[in-house]
C-alpha cells in the first residue's frame, strides 16, 4: 500500500520535471531569438567585415569606434548627449525632490487635482505637445536672443551665448525641454517615496536642533536616496532615448546628440556601413547600462530599522 503511494508520487514528480524541462527549452529558444539582434550589434561592432548578417567575426577590431571618433563628430555627439541629458537629469532631480516632498506633506485641497494634472502631461503623446511647446519656446527664444544682443555686440560672443542659452537650437532649451518631459514621473516617484518616510524623522531632527537646510541635507536626502536613484534612472534613460525633442529643437550640427547623429548616419544613402552603425549603437547603449549599474547600488539600499521595534 505504502509502496503504491510512493511510486505514484514519483511518477508525478517525473512528469513534472519533464514538462518543466520542455517549458525551459521553449523559453530559452524564445530568448535566444529575441536577443539575436543584440548579439549581432555587439559582434558586428567589433567585426572588421561587418555585414547585415549575424556571423562569427574573423578578428576583433576597434576601427569602427576609432572611425566614429576620428572621422565623424562622434565625440561631439556623445558629449552633447551626456551634457544635455546629464544636466536635465540633475535639474529634474532637484525639482522632483522639492516638488515631491511638498506634494507628499501638504494636506491642501489642491493636492490631488495637481497630482493628476502633473501626470496628465505624461499621458499626452509628446508629438501632440510639439506645436504648443514650440510656440512657447519660440517666444522665449526671441526674448533671450534680444537680451544677448543687448549684452554684447561682438558677433562671435553672441553666437556662443546663443548656443548656450537659446531655447531653440541651444543647450538650455534642450535641457529644459527634457527636464519638463521627465519631471512628471519623477515628481510622482519622489512624492510616493516621501509618503513612505515618516514625519518623525524630521521632527526628531527639529528637536535635535537641525535647521531646515540641515534636515534636508542630513536626514531627508539620505533617506530619499533610493527614490532619487529610481527617479534619476528613469529620467536619464528616457531622456537619453529621446529622439523627438532633439530633432525638433536643434538644427545646427554642433548641437547634434547621439540619437540624431545615428539617425543621420543611417540615412546616408551611398553605402550603409554596418560596422559604423553597430559601433554607434554600442556607444549609445553604454551610458544607459552605466546609469543603471550606478543607480542599482542605491535602488537596493533600503533603509529599515529606523522606526518601530
Amino acid at each position: 500500500m505504502v509502496a503504491v503511494v510512493r511510486s505514484s508520487s514519483e511518477d508525478v514528480t517525473v512528469t513534472h520535471h519533464a514538462s518543466q524541462r520542455r517549458a525551459y527549452l521553449t523559453l530559452v529558444l524564445i530568448s535566444l531569438f529575441c536577443m539575436m539582434p543584440f548579439f549581432w550589434v555587439v559582434l558586428a561592432a567589433f567585426d572588421p567585415k561587418a555585414s547585415q548578417f549575424l556571423q562569427i567575426p574573423q578578428g576583433v577590431t576597434l576601427d569602427h569606434f576609432k572611425n566614429i571618433f576620428a572621422n565623424e563628430s562622434g565625440m561631439r555627439w556623445v558629449l552633447n548627449s551626456v551634457v544635455i541629458v546629464g544636466s536635465a537629469t540633475i535639474l529634474t532631480l532637484i525639482f522632483a525632490g522639492f516638488g515631491g516632498y511638498a506634494l507628499s506633506r501638504t494636506q491642501a485641497w489642491w493636492k490631488r487635482p495637481l497630482l493628476y494634472g502633473i501626470i496628465l502631461v505624461r499621458i499626452v503623446p509628446p508629438p501632440a505637445l510639439i506645436v504648443p511647446v514650440y510656440k512657447v519656446m519660440l517666444f522665449l527664444n526671441d526674448w533671450i536672443n534680444g537680451l544677448i544682443n543687448q549684452f554684447t555686440a561682438d558677433v562671435e560672443q553672441q553666437q556662443m551665448l546663443s548656443r548656450m542659452f537659446s531655447f531653440i537650437d541651444g543647450y538650455l532649451g534642450l535641457i529644459l525641454i527634457h527636464c519638463a518631459m521627465q519631471l512628471p514621473l519623477a515628481i510622482w516617484i519622489m512624492k510616493t517615496f516621501f509618503d513612505a518616510i515618516p514625519k518623525d524623522y524630521e521632527e526628531a531632527a527639529a528637536l535635535d536642533g537641525a535647521s531646515q537646510w540641515q534636515t534636508v541635507r542630513h536626514v531627508l536626502i539620505p533617506l530619499a536616496l533610493p527614490g532619487f536613484a529610481a527617479a534619476g534612472l528613469f529620467a536619464f534613460i528616457n531622456a537619453w532615448g529621446d529622439f523627438l525633442m532633439p530633432l525638433m529643437f536643434t538644427s545646427s550640427p554642433e548641437l547634434q546628440t547621439l540619437p540624431l547623429g545615428m539617425f543621420r548616419a543611417f540615412l546616408r544613402v551611398d553605402a550603409i556601413d554596418y560596422g559604423f552603425l553597430t559601433a554607434l549603437a554600442v556607444i549609445y547603449t553604454l551610458p544607459a547600462v552605466i546609469a543603471f549599474a550606478f543607480a542599482r547600488k542605491f535602488l537596493t539600499q533600503t533603509f529599515s530599522g529606523g522606526v518601530k521595534g
Binding site: 524623522y201 521632527e203 535635535d208 539620505p222 529599515s304 522606526v307 521595534g309
Partner: protein
Amino acid sequence: MSHIELIDIKKNYLGTEVVKGISVTIDQGEFAVIVGPSGCGKSTLLRMIAGLEDISSGELRIGGKVMNHVSPDQREIAMVFQSYALYPHMTVGENIGFALALKKVDKAEIKRRVMEAAQMLELEHLLERKPAALSGGQRQRVAIGRAIVKRPKVILFDEPLSNLDAKLRVQMRTELMRLHREFGSTVVYVTHDQVEAMTMAQKIIVLHNGYVSQLGKPMQLYREPENTFVAQFIGVPKMNLLRGKLQGSSFYLQSGQVIDIGNGFTSGNDLQLGIRPEHLKLHATSAQGGWTVDVVERLGVESFVHLHNATMEQLVVRVEGDCELAADTQVNLQFDAASCYLFNDKGQRLLRKPAIEQAAG
C-alpha cells in the same frame, strides 16, 4: 529651574477641539505620567510641549519662561518618539551625537559625551552599528541615548515601550526609573497603559476626552478616584460598578439584592456602587447565592472570577491563590463596606460625611 506649567492649554484641529483646556504644573525633576485611552489627546499635548504642534490657546511655561512661540530646539527639551525615529543611515554613535554635531561641539567632546551616554545605557559595543542591526530593546536605548546626550532639562516620552514585548517592557520600566534618578531631568511620559503609570509615576495626569479627569500620586488615584472614569481606568481588573439606589446604609441593586455599604452616604436613586475586585469576598454556597460563575481566570498566584446576577449585572472578584470553581456555580458575595465607593449618575464620586457629623446628624 525647569518646572513645566500648562495654563488652560487648548488645541483645535480644523475646528474640532482635541485638547480642551488643560492646566497642570509639573515640578522640577518630577516623573509625570500622562495616561488615558487612545485618542484622548495625550500625544497632542506632549507635542505641544515639545513645540512640534502649535498651541491654539493657553500658555506653556518651562522654567518660568513662556514657550508658546519658542522653536523646539530652543526649549532645552528632548523627546523619545514612539517610533524611535532613529536615522537609519547613521550609526548608533552618529545617531546619539547628531544633536551635538549640529551644534558644532568639538569632536572629542562629542565622542566623550556619546560614550558617557552609551555607558549609561550599556550601548558601548553597539556604537558602530546601524539601527537596522539592533533589537527592539536596543533601538529603544539608542532613542533614549539620543535624548539624554543633550543634557536636556525636560525629557518627553511618547509611549516609548509600546513596541516592546511584555518582558522587555517590565525591564525597561525599572531602567527608565533608574535613569530618571541618575539624571534628574523633569520627565513627561505619555502612555495608555495604567500599569506603566502606576509603577513609574510620581504624578499621574489622567486625560479623558481632552480634559484632565484627575491628577495626583498613583496610590491617591487608586484610593480616592474622583469619578467612575478614573476608578475604572486605574487598577486591573477594573473597579466593578453596579447601578441601584441607596436607603440608609443599604444599597438596592436592580436585581433586588441588598448590599450593606456602611454609614455616611446620603440616600438617593440612580446611583452607582463601586467596589474593586480585591475588596470582594466569595463564598461558595449550595443555596441560591444570587451570583453565578461565568468564567474563572486562573493565574496561579491569584484568580479572577467573573460573575453575573439575575439581571445580568457583571462583577469580577479577585481570589488569592488558585480557585477551582466551575462555571454556573452559585456563589455568595461579601462586600467590604469600608471599601465601597459611591458615584452619582454622572459618574462623580460622592463622599461619606465624616463620623463626627454622622454622630451629630
